[in-house]
Symmetry: C2
């Protein structure tokens, strides 16, 4: 910091002396509030001399980024008023929440949703005390923060969230403040490339504002310690036109920021006007801002002989021990008074009118912009009828025809897209065609604002106005989708099952966000669900091998609140259609759908599929020979399947048993909605114990053939009666280069091992059992020999059909 | 591609006609082999006319990147021979394995470890057939690939892996080939900044080679579709000096690559010599290469009227239907013959000697460089005695003194560092001090090659030769550590528990890599374990709030092979020391240690800690009143704890029960090694059922107070006897801004709720039970009232000690 001269890339001093005085006073009010939130539980307006008892006993929160955050906020306010411009503020350094909460409070947005924190002394007192206080609000831009759709607790997603807001919001400008700490994360480092996907005609704009305040918790940041030349090259390389606002003197900095903001917004408007008037969408060099200001700006230069302002020591609470260290207490009082609260607030503790008038009003206030409470402006998706013959697979006999399961869903998504060409997008990492959803391209292609070549006409499916978002960054895609959903639109993300783990952490954070919105923040309206289709699943990654086999994403999902998580394993194409339709209509959930893209047997007519998916699980009569329904305890064994491939194998095992043990009564159950297995008390979809026992019997052996890691079923069903009888098969990390059946065999979810499982658990099979066991073992060996010779499973395995 | 002129940033034609002819012939041999691997199962040398029966029935593998990968490999070979230079090859586009396997086979490395794939016709036949074939090898650079430490199945980590190899390997140059698809991922996009952490004196060098072949699966890549000026700016901004080799004509391209490679290597040597002779380590602008060559280079221009070479259609298998489409079969034969195998291999199918001599020999061959089988050259860590008084906490009475648990481990790591200053590093995202491991800095500071300022002397702990790696990118840190471990060194990573999910996917891939190495690749020597300390854990994130609370990383870990996963919850500082010592000495594991950084009660002397951690779990006699040992079935209830904070609460509950119900016999068990709960048959640390019942009794109620999500315990222990009696408490997503005890209370792992749990489950407590329940409920209310008033838990809670 100290080595950097005051620097500005554009000339001009747009603020009159009066404007300058006022904006600086407003900023002092913000800084006063930020400091008050961190330190004060009483004496909010400092009408009395500061005493230890006014200071919170446990000091929490982050000062470091706060002054910079409100500095930016106020200069965005100025633009909003000047142009009547709708703007949204995304605070990457979410732990600088005081720097956001302060202006949100001063503009009046806060008191509107929290009337007990009014714009007066008592309100300010409560506003201070609740901050980072038990029962109060967090030190990040949590869902409780009006105007926030980005918490910033986990770093990396501010810029992709900002672009997600801007898509299909042509009138909005999103100011995305990116901390230079966050800028070191991978997700953020690639999100800069989002500018290759922003269309100036149809989309709004993003102003990335790199807040280069030099330090993280206890380290300098990389971008603050490279040369100006490198820094500028980097952002030019990312395709931006960077403007620099660098310095520390507030007078200079206000003028510099005001002139830069004006320049940048004018440039954006010129770009948009050019594109919108000509109808030609080219990729412009969008402007961005680098704000290099001191960490902990306006804090004391030093405390106890250590540098504070402009150093990492100001990151969190720069000074503590207020209750035992009189000098610190005095310094705190000086520091608080340095903002001259008496010149900022009237007797009642309200911001002076001459300052208040710098705020925008109504929904133009960034804390009240309805876009940031997206549920308010969300329009229901217009939905085609998923039962239409355009999508539905005809299933004359269960288990006798094969269809790629995701293809019909692709057609359905195509028509959803067609009917919602301004508020629905599909996201996937270069795999929309690979996951067999390519019908979508008939209606809308992939967004692409970078160069196009002649050969792209032959199938690349690129268009500047495409609505399918493909980039090889799951982080960026999900970040875009989250911004898009939280600002009131609809989305659908699909990816390879194994690589969903790349965004585990983003899932966690989004589920937590929804949980809080739903249960703790009544003024947040419901938003569209976060939908993910996991395709290219483990059982058909036999050829890509071990690194592509991981069905564990759902394990993670089950850890999150039952209020917001849903998991579906549709066994066939009609069930997938029903599930996708349901998920797209839902709100405030994270819906995880697992369905493979390859050809699979079809089981249920659409009518049956709807019934089955609505119940979430059920007996497949046609696959049972236990006369189920009349005498519920009758079967000798219950065969359960969950997932497309495990279902085929479980059915094949059932067919073998009918041949080999015609007297054995088998009940066949398929589970679509995984969380029906949870206790009713723990998940709204959970079966009661009575329902469970009616279906699964209270005591008969259960062979459960599961798509994922087998122990997940035990985790969900551990409270069910006699659960030691539940024998689960699933993926247990036994994979390499295999054939599909060999992969199933190695993990023992195959038909032959399932028959052996039954033989092991049903004592009444008699002398034939040993013989059948040997036949099963031989079949396993034969298939392997065939596979190793020809590279494929035996024909009768590949072409197996339900024979009845 | 087509729009780009042949371009080269340095002049010169270093190859004589003869050299040019040979290197091109060698490259043709590579391409022939790559194509053979994908297509042929017979007629490997094409001595007979190609027939359908020679072609594999199922065509798998990726042609797209393969020719470029071997092109680079051969030009690195040339440098190795010219300078006797140790080089390592990292193939980011791991799915281009044919382009790596081919030169590894031709140089003889492959046949040395797989003698049945010899350098003759029969060997080549087997080499072809096994590729992407059941029972054979994968289409990525899997552990079975000699010379590979990077699979490339999941994209994003090639560059960080490469830097990890280069650290502390001053004589090595790592060529890191980065696909332009991979370059779009977040982890890769930030890994470019690794150059701010590479010291030219002590470390080797990395040549990043961006392989700009223009396309992913079905899309162009971003970096291939921005202007040359932007591309160059981007890499200058990242701090590199980019050299461009662009074109498609092999003659031109060989000369261009040869001259560029020479220029780059000379520059690296100059940089190193300058730094090493002056002893001054500055950050140079390291050179890098952009290789822009056609996707699917040397494939047919078009097939069936569709462009193939230089387009995404060449990504995978460019042409199929060989068994039904005679034209395709002919085209394949033409294509194969275009490499003129008869000019490359002798009668026996061995590479002609005049070509073979272009390969380096012995360990300089990149497929045989011992660095890539790091276990071979790994030196055991020199270890201080963790039982030394420098670290050990004196525990005169259990549960009566408090110490920060991670501090002593920090001192221990400091001395491990001191004794291993060339092959041990500690990795953490800006949190080494925050996680209280800062004693390390006494011995070695943080690596920092970017600018330093005067104020950094006041505690920033930066040094060009530091051995503590801090960057705000968990992806980069773990990538570095993996490269470092797999090349034979030792490492320790620590991070905030909740944000470990950022690298879930990296953990998965590394665990899979180790599993295969251990069980399928006997020639791979054991490497040091992947160690992670999860600190700043959920129960002390009451102030940071919900987004910082997620103990689910261990859930993920339990899905991986029991051969490679270990999970530890040391309850106090001495146990943590014992566990860290054990983990650092181990090989081929992923060790996960969960321990909070804050002050906690201490329980065990070092002697006791060693015994306890060695067993993995055990009865704490001093906390029992069941006369345990003599009559194992005697307790009325078994109280179990796992994790530091849950242990304190479980003990406090036990103390309350002794007061309230002196006749109640309580057995107290602490679990350090989580996987002891698994069945013995499923994990080597698992207890037998008899051992389990001896400890936990076969039938008494168990109250299990767990650090993580409670259902994980059910998942592990589902096979134990009468497991419906196991009642688990843990984190269940109930958090916001709380006090520590309030957070515990909301999730019911606190002392009061545990007592209520016992009351609910033990029927013999008599009339006093109702009274105690009421007291517990009152205590909960009192604490909350206190917390909401003062922001802290009540003193008697905070200062609670084991009273006996």
């Amino acid at each position: 910091m100290v080595t950097t001269p005051e620097r500005l890339t554009v000339p001009g001093n747009p603020l009159s002396d009066e404007e300058l005085r006022k904006i600086d006073a407003y900023w002092r009010a913000c800084n006063y509030l930020a400091l008050g939130m961190i330190y004060l539980k009483d004496n909010a307006l400092l009408k009395d001399p500061l005493k230890a008892e006014h200071v919170k006993p446990r000091l929490l929160g982050h000062w470091g980024s706060s002054p910079g955050l409100s500095f930016i906020y106020l200069h965005m306010n100025r633009i909003i008023k000047q142009y009547n411009q709708s703007m949204v503020y995304v605070a990457g350094p979410g732990h600088g929440a005081p720097g956001v909460l302060a202006p949100v409070y001063l503009e009046g947005s806060y008191s509107e949703v929290y009337p007990d924190k009014g714009e007066d002394a008592e309100g300010m007192h409560r506003f201070f005390k609740q901050f980072s206080f038990p029962g109060g609000i967090g030190s990040h831009c949590t869902p409780e923060t009006p105007g926030s759709i980005h918490e910033g607790g986990e770093l990396g997603y501010s810029l992709s969230h900002a672009y997600g807001i801007a898509f299909d919001n042509p009138d909005v400008i999103v100011g995305a403040v990116i901390g230079d700490g966050e800028a070191e994360t991978g997700p953020l480092a690639t999100a800069w490339h989002s500018n290759k996907f922003l269309n100036p005609i149809r989309d709004g704009a993003v102003i990335p504002i790199l807040h280069l305040n030099g330090y993280k918790i206890a380290n300098p940041t990389i971008l603050a310690r490279i040369s100006h030349e490198e820094l500028e090259s980097l952002f030019r390389g990312y395709g931006y036109k960077p403007y620099f606002v660098e310095g520390s003197d507030p007078t200079y900095m206000h003028q510099a920021m005001a002139t830069t903001m004006e320049t940048v917004v004018k440039e954006i408007k010129e770009i948009q006007q050019e594109a919108r008037s000509t109808g030609v969408a080219k990729r412009p060099r969008w402007p961005m801002i680098v704000l290099r200001s001191p960490k902990g700006w306006t804090a004391p230069d030093s405390i106890d002989g250590h540098k504070v302002e402009g150093f990492w020591r100001s990151h969190q609470v720069p000074m503590s021990d207020m209750h035992t260290n009189e000098a610190h207490l005095q310094l705190l009082e000086q520091w608080l008074r340095s903002y001259k609260p008496e010149e900022l607030f009237d007797e009642n503790g309200s911001l002076l009118p001459e300052l208040k008038e710098l705020s925008p009003t109504g929904p133009l206030r960034m804390g009240s912009n309805p876009i940031t409470n997206g549920g308010l402006i969300r329009k229901e998706l217009r939905m085609p009828d998923f039962k239409s013959l355009d999508y539905v697979i005809d299933v004359p006999q269960p288990g006798t025809t094969e269809v790629g399961n995701t293809g019909p869903a692709g057609k359905f998504l195509r028509d959803v897209m067609r009917m919602n060409m301004t508020n629905f997008r599909v996201f996937g990492p270069d795999e929309t065609a690979s996951n067999r959803l390519q019908a979508i391209y008939e209606v809308s292609k992939k967004t692409w604002m970078a160069e196009m070549f002649a050969e792209d006409l032959d199938g690349s499916q690129l268009a500047t106005d495409g609505r399918v978002m493909e980039m090889l960054s799951e982080h960026t895609l999900v970040g875009w989708m989250e911004g898009y959903l939280l600002s009131g639109r609809h989305g659908f993300f699909h990816t390879y099952e194994a690589f969903a783990h790349v965004i585990d952490s983003m899932f966690n954070q989004h589920a937590k966000w929804l949980d809080i919105c739903k249960n703790e923040v009544p003024w947040r309206a419901p938003v569209s669900s976060w939908n993910i289709l996991l395709s290219s699943t483990v059982w058909r990654q036999d050829h890509n091998g071990f690194s592509h086999q991981d069905p564990g994403f759902v394990d993670l999902v089950t850890n999150k609140s039952a209020d917001v998580v849903r998991i579906y394993f549709p066994p066939d194409a009609n069930c997938l259609l029903s599930v996708v339709d349901h998920c797209l209509r839902s709100t405030d959930y994270t819906n995880v759908i697992v369905a493979d893209k390859q050809k699979h047997l079809q089981y249920l007519s659409m009518e049956e599929a709807i019934k089955h998916c609505t119940k979430g699980l059920g007996i497949w009569d046609w696959a049972c020979n236990d006369d189920c329904g009349t005498e519920p305890d009758e079967p000798d064994v219950v065969m359960v399947s969950c997932g497309d491939i495990p279902t085929k194998e479980a059915l094949a095992a059932t067919a073998i048993m009918r041949e080999e043990f015609p007297y054995l009564k088998v009940r066949f159950i398929n589970v679509v909605d995984l969380l029906t297995l949870m206790p009713k008390e723990e998940h709204p979809h959970g079966l009661s114990n009575r329902e469970f026992d009616n279906l699964f019997t209270p005591d008969k052996p259960i062979i459960f053939n599961f798509h994922g890691y087998p122990w997940l079923i035990h985790k969900l069903a551990y409270r069910r009666s006699n659960q030691e009888r539940i024998h689960v098969r699933g993926y247990k990390e036994k994979g390499n280069i295999n054939t599909p059946l060999e992969l199933a065999i190695n993990n023992e979810i195959d038909r032959f091992n399932l028959v052996i499982d039954v033989i092991d658990r049903v004592e009444t099979l008699g002398s034939r059992a040993a013989h059948v066991r040997e036949r099963m073992n031989n079949a396993i060996i034969e298939n392997r020999n065939h596979a190793y010779k020809y590279g494929m499973d035996r024909d009768e395995i590949v072409n197996w059909r339900w024979p009845y």
